[in-house]
Symmetry: C2
Subunit: 103 residues, 2 copies
């Protein structure tokens, strides 16, 4: 809960509550700057697997974008698979991951 | 044009024409299985940079998904940045990349 309070601004707890109550959302993960899933609604193995991979993908995507346009920044990365969608939003202090069912 | 005719099915040329005529689309790239941008509407340097990075990201994302659910498959990967959006759709024979302006 430390990241939520310290880095995500006053309305963050409410916002996370609303995201988690959305029927399409399977789960959320807040990954700290060391890659540890600090807060999650998923089981720890799934959270750790998503955290490790999506954090790496997010860093690689950011680097790729810098090579294309040094003035551009990654806002979000979305993995669409047959069964689900995972969105990772990067921040210097944390990564927010939201996993949803495919509509 | 080889991939378009051999692997992307009869309507592919028309579909690519329609995508390229969309005002939001900055450019498209069809990357062959060796990672070479075979057909593109972008300049060759930009096409090569996008092809190299998005193909790597797409492979990593596919592997990540297999660790989470071995029965799942990547359908598309979307990079949303401040200035643009790039979507890569993987296929065993090629990768289709579409670069769009941010709405």
């Amino acid at each position: 809960m430390e990241i939520l309070q310290n880095f995500m601004g006053p309305g963050a707890i409410e916002t996370m509550k609303r995201i988690n109550e959305n029927g399409n959302v399977v789960g959320t993960i807040i990954v700290n700057s060391e890659g540890f899933p600090e807060t999650t609604t998923l089981d720890s193995l799934t959270a750790a697997t998503y955290s490790t991979h999506l954090r790496t993908l997010s860093h690689l995507a950011s680097n790729a974008l810098k090579e294309i346009d040094v003035m551009d920044d990654l806002v979000a990365l979305r993995l669409v698979s047959r069964k689900a969608e995972a969105v990772v939003a990067p921040d210097p202090e944390f990564h927010l991951i939201v996993v949803m069912r495919r509509k």
